[in-house]
C-alpha cells in the first residue's frame, strides 16, 4: 500500500483515477480494505476554507466540523443550522478531524451535514477529469466515477432570509443520530412561502416533499401541521433498526418534525 500527498486538485484527480485508489480526508471512518493499494490525501489541496461571496457561501471539502461550528458566516444561514449540525456531531477531537466532504461522501445514514445542506439547497462541486456540480440530493442517487471527489459545497446566500431548526435525537449527545430532522422556512406575511424539510438516521438523507407541498403557501396552524406531518410520516419507508421498533421511530419522527416546524413557522 502506498500513500500519496497531492498538492493540487488536478494531481489528486489523476491519482484517484487509478484502480484500487481511495481518498483520505479526516480519516475517522476509514477502514483499510485489503484491495486498496493507493491512499490519496486530500487535506493538502487548500480546500480548507469558508468563503462568503455575493450570491453564495463556499465551503472547501476538507473544512472540518470544528471550523464550521465556529464560523460566523455560516451562523447567519438559516439560523445557523450548519453550525448546529457540526456541534451535534461526535465529540471535540473527532470534530477536529471530520471534514464536511467526508461526512457527505461516506453516505452514512446518521450523517448530520447532508440533511442540513439539503434544506439550504446546497450543491456539491465534484472534481474529476471534467468538473461537475450536482444538487446534494442528486449526489445520493449517483456514483462517483474513478478520479472524482467532492471538492466544494456551494450554498446560496438566499438561505439568509429564512429561519431554520436542526434537531438530532440520540441516546447520548455524542452517539450516532437515531433521527435527525432539519427544517428551513421563509414566511411572507402570514403565509409560509418556502418550506424545506429533510430527515436522516431513520432513512438515508432525504427531503420530505409531502410536508413541503402541504405547507407552502398556507397560513400555518397547529392542526395543519399535525395533519400534514401524520400523513407524510405514515408513507415514509424507514430503514430497519435492531434497537428501536418501527412504531416508536415513526412516532418519534412525527414529534421531532412537529417541534422543528413549530419552532420555525409558529414561534416569534
Amino acid at each position: 500500500m502506498e500513500f500519496h500527498y497531492p498538492q493540487t486538485v488536478k494531481e489528486a484527480v489523476a491519482l484517484l483515477g487509478r484502480p484500487s485508489s481511495i481518498a483520505v480526508a479526516g480519516g475517522t471512518s476509514f477502514i483499510v480494505k485489503p484491495r486498496v493499494e493507493h491512499l490519496v490525501d486530500l487535506t493538502r489541496l487548500r480546500l480548507n476554507y469558508i468563503r462568503e461571496k455575493k450570491t453564495e457561501v463556499l465551503i472547501g471539502a476538507t473544512t472540518t466540523a470544528a471550523d464550521i461550528s465556529e464560523s460566523q458566516v455560516l451562523g447567519r444561514l438559516g439560523s445557523g443550522i450548519l453550525r448546529d449540525a457540526s456541534s451535534a456531531m461526535a465529540d471535540t477531537p473527532l470534530r477536529n478531524m471530520i471534514t464536511v466532504g467526508g461526512d457527505i461522501a461516506c453516505r452514512y445514514i446518521w450523517a448530520s451535514f447532508p440533511p442540513a445542506l439539503m434544506v439550504l439547497d446546497a450543491r456539491l462541486k465534484i472534481a474529476g477529469r471534467k468538473e461537475r456540480e450536482v444538487p446534494i440530493e442528486k449526489f445520493f442517487k449517483l456514483r462517483l466515477q474513478p478520479g472524482e471527489f467532492i471538492s466544494e459545497v456551494v450554498i446560496p446566500q438566499k438561505s439568509k432570509k429564512g429561519k431554520g431548526a436542526f434537531i438530532k435525537f440520540s441516546r447520548t449527545k455524542s452517539e450516532y443520530s437515531l433521527i435527525t430532522v432539519v427544517v428551513y422556512a421563509e414566511q411572507q406575511g402570514k403565509k409560509a412561502s418556502v418550506v424545506r424539510v429533510a430527515v436522516s438516521g431513520n432513512t438515508p438523507p432525504t427531503r420530505i416533499k409531502a410536508i413541503e407541498d402541504g405547507l407552502e403557501g398556507k397560513v400555518i396552524t397547529e392542526e395543519l401541521l399535525e395533519k400534514t406531518i401524520e400523513k407524510a410520516v405514515a408513507q415514509l419507508p424507514l430503514t430497519e433498526s435492531y434497537i428501536f421498533s418501527e412504531e416508536y421511530r415513526r412516532e418519534l419522527l412525527g414529534i421531532l418534525l412537529k417541534r422543528g416546524l413549530k419552532k420555525v413557522l409558529m414561534e416569534g
Partner: protein, 156 residues
C-alpha cells in the same frame, strides 16, 4: 514509509507501514502516555494535539501528520516541573486509575490555549471526547478550573 514531523518540539523522523495508525507509531517510539483504550475513537485515551487541535490518534493514519506538530503528555511537563494542569489534577484528586488522564489533560490544554477563561460548559464540551470511568468528571472539571485560575488567564 518515512516522514518527518515535530513531536513535543523535537524534529522527528518516523518510519512505519502506510496503514499504521498514529497511536501505534507514537507508542512504538516510546510515547507511552498515548494510551490504547478502545482503538475505535470512542474513549479518547489516545488523544494528542496536532497543530493546536486535539485529535484521536487511533483514528488517524501516521502518514497524515507529515510536517505537522504533535504534542503528547510527555511534552507539557516533567515530574520536577509539572504543567499547571498536571499539578491541579493531582491536588484536586482528578486522577484515579489514571488511564484517561493524559487525554483529559491534553484536551484541557488545547482549550486553555485557545480560551484561557472558559466557562464550566466550555470545559465540559472540551472534554466531551474523553471518557473517565472512575471520577464522575466533577473533580476533573474542578481541576481544569483551578489550573485556569492559576494560569491567570494567560496562554502558556
Amino acid at each position: 514509509m518515512e516522514i518527518t514531523c515535530k513531536i513535543n518540539n523535537v524534529e522527528k523522523r518516523l518510519v512505519f507501514e502506510p496503514h499504521e495508525r498514529l497511536m501505534e507509531v507514537l507508542r512504538r517510539e516510546g510515547y507511552y502516555g498515548v494510551k490504547d483504550g478502545c482503538s475505535t475513537g470512542d474513549c479518547g485515551a489516545c488523544t494528542v494535539i496536532v497543530n493546536g487541535r486535539v485529535i484521536k490518534s487511533c483514528l488517524m493514519f501516521a502518514v497524515q501528520v507529515r510536517n505537522k506538530e504533535i504534542i503528547t503528555i510527555e511534552g507539557i511537563g516533567t515530574d520536577e516541573n509539572p504543567h499547571p494542569l498536571q499539578q491541579a489534577f493531582v491536588e484536586m484528586g482528578a486522577v484515579q486509575c489514571g488511564f484517561c488522564t493524559p487525554g483529559m489533560i491534553l484536551s484541557a490544554k488545547a482549550l486553555l490555549d485557545k480560551n484561557p477563561n472558559p466557562t464550566e460548559d466550555e470545559i465540559k464540551e472540551a472534554i466531551d471526547g474523553n471518557l473517565c470511568r472512575c471520577t464522575g468528571y466533577i473533580k476533573i472539571v474542578e481541576a481544569i478550573k483551578l489550573a485556569a485560575r492559576r494560569m491567570g488567564g494567560r496562554r502558556r
